[in-house]
C-alpha cells in the first residue's frame, strides 16, 4: 500500500526534483554572476580601502538591504511585471527563477563582502604598496584569499535557494517543496510529505558535503 503510493508518486517526484534543480541552478548562476562583483564593490568602496567611495558604498548598501528586507513571498508576487518582461510569462519554474535570482543576488553579495572582510588588511596594503592596480588586487589578492569563504557562501546560498524555491509554487513554479506543500500539507498525504522532506534533507546534506569538500580543496592556507 505504502510502496504502491510511492511508486505512483515517482513521475511526479521526478518532475518536481528536476524543477527544483532547474530553479536553483538558474538563480544560483545569476547570483554568482551579479552578486560576486556587487560584493566586491561593496567591499572595495568601503572606508580606508583602495577604491574608497562613500556615495557608491551607501547607495549599493541601501539597495542591497532594501531587497533583503522584503519577505520572499512578497518579492515573488511583486516582481511579476519584471518576470513578465524578462521571461514573457508569469508562471512556471522559469518565471519563479527571476524572483529567486533577485533575492539571491544581494544575499550572496553580502556573503562575498563578509568573506573579503576576513582578509588581513595588511595583505591588501602590501599589494597597494607594491604599486598594483585595483583590478590586479581584486584578481590576484582578494579573490584567491577569499576563495574558501566564497565557496562556503555559494553553499549557503544554494541551500537557501532550495528552501526559497518551495514557495515558488505560488506562481506555479513547481519543485519538491511545492509538492510537499500541495500534497502533504493541503491534502494531509503523509507519505508524500515525508518522502519529499527526506529528499530535501538528502539534497541539502549533499550540497553541504560537496561545498565543504570544495572549500577545503581550494584552501591553500
Amino acid at each position: 500500500m505504502l510502496l504502491d503510493s510511492l511508486i505512483n508518486l515517482i513521475p511526479e517526484l521526478n518532475k518536481a526534483f528536476l524543477e527544483t534543480l532547474y530553479m536553483v541552478a538558474i538563480s544560483l548562476s545569476v547570483a554568482i554572476i551579479a552578486g560576486l562583483p556587487l560584493g566586491i564593490l561593496l567591499f572595495v568602496t568601503d572606508r580606508g580601502l583602495f577604491l574608497e567611495n562613500t556615495t557608491v558604498k551607501s547607495i549599493l548598501g541601501f539597495v542591497v538591504n532594501m531587497i533583503r528586507s522584503i519577505p520572499f513571498v512578497i518579492l515573488l508576487v511583486g516582481l511579476l511585471p519584471l518576470t513578465k518582461l524578462i521571461t514573457g510569462t508569469t508562471i512556471g519554474p522559469t518565471a519563479a527563477s527571476v524572483s529567486l535570482s533577485v533575492a539571491a543576488i544581494p544575499f550572496f553579495a553580502r556573503i562575498v563582502e563578509t568573506s573579503l572582510r576576513e582578509i588581513d588588511k595588511g595583505v591588501i596594503e602590501a599589494a597597494v604598496a607594491v604599486g598594483a592596480t585595483p583590478w590586479m588586487i581584486i584578481k590576484d589578492v582578494l579573490l584567491p584569499e577569499a576563495r574558501p569563504g566564497i565557496v562556503h557562501g555559494i553553499t549557503i546560498t544554494t541551500i537557501s535557494l532550495v528552501g526559497y524555491s518551495a514557495m515558488a509554487g505560488i506562481v506555479g513554479g513547481g519543485g519538491i517543496g511545492d509538492l510537499a506543500i500541495r500534497f502533504g500539507y493541503y491534502r494531509y498525504d503523509d507519505t508524500v510529505m515525508i518522502t519529499t522532506i527526506v529528499i530535501l534533507i538528502c539534497l541539502v546534506q549533499i550540497i553541504q558535503f560537496a561545498g565543504d569538500r570544495i572549500a577545503r580543496l581550494v584552501d591553500k592556507r
Partner: protein, 314 residues
Amino acid sequence: MSLTIKNGEIFGIVGYSGAGKSTLLRCLNLLERPTSGQVIIDGVDLTTLNKKELRQARLKIGMIFQHFHLVSSKTVFENVAFALKAAKKSKDEIEKRVNELLEMVGLSDKRDAYPSQLSGGQKQRVGIARALANEPTVLLCDEATSALDPSTTKSILALLKKINRELGITIVLITHEMEVVKDICDRIAVMQDGKVIELGTVYDIFTNPKEELTKSFINSVLQFDLPDHLLKKRTGTIVKIQFKGEMAEEAVVSDMLQTFKVKGNILHGKIEYIQDMPLGIFVMELTGEPDEIQRAIDYISLRTNGLEVIASAA
C-alpha cells in the same frame, strides 16, 4: 616635522609605540596621506601625483612589514611575481627575475611552497624579495624584525645590510629595538609624540645622547646595572667611564693609576662596536685618599668621553 634622508644610507627611526613612527613611514609611500606638506622621493613630490603616477612611483619604493603580509593562497614564486606583474613585465622576464630574487634571499628551494609552510624568517625573505622585485631606490621597513627571534633578526639584518651595500638601496626602517639600530643604521631619528626629538649618526647618538628618551633607549642596549651586593660592599668611589673612538685604544686608566695614589678595581666593562667604531664602557671602584680620588676623576674626565660618579666613597 622636516626630515631629509640621504641616498644610500640606512636610516633608523626609533620611538615607543604611539610615537608616530609608523605613520611617518607610511607617509613615505603615501599609504597614509599627510594632511599637509610634501613627501619628496628622488626629486618627485608624491603628494602631487595622480593615481597612475603614484602606482608607478610605488614600484620604486619597496616595503616590508612586521607581519610579512604575504598572500597566503599563493606560492612564494607567485607572491614575488605579483610585484613584477604590477610593473607589467612579460612572463619570461618575471620567471627570470623571480628566480634571481629568490636566489639572492636564499629561498630558491622554497619556490613552490605556500607561506604557511615557511618560518617567520623565510616569510620575511619572501617579503624582501617582493619589495626588491622592481629594483626600488628606497626600501621601507616597518618593524621588519619585531616578530622574529634574535638569531633570525640577525640574519635578516645582515641581508638588509647586504642589500644596502651591494645594491645601493636607501633603507628607512622603524623599530623599537635599539639593537637593530646599533647593528645596521648609519643615522637615526628618535621620535616622541609625533616629533623628531633627536637626530644624528648612530655613533654620535650612542656616545652622546642628549634627550632623556634617547638615553633610556640606549641604556636598553648598554645595560650596566651592578648587583646590589657589590654596591653595598664597596668602600671606594664607583665611577662609570666611557671611551669613544681612538680613546678606547689609549692607556688612560693605567696612566691614571700610576700618576695618582689610587687603586682601581674593574667591576664591569665592555666595548661595543658601532659602525665599526669602538665605544668602551667601564665601571671601576677607586679607593684611596679622597683628594687623590678627586684628582684622578678630573684627570680621567678630561681624557675620556665622560665620567659619571655612580656612588661616592662611604
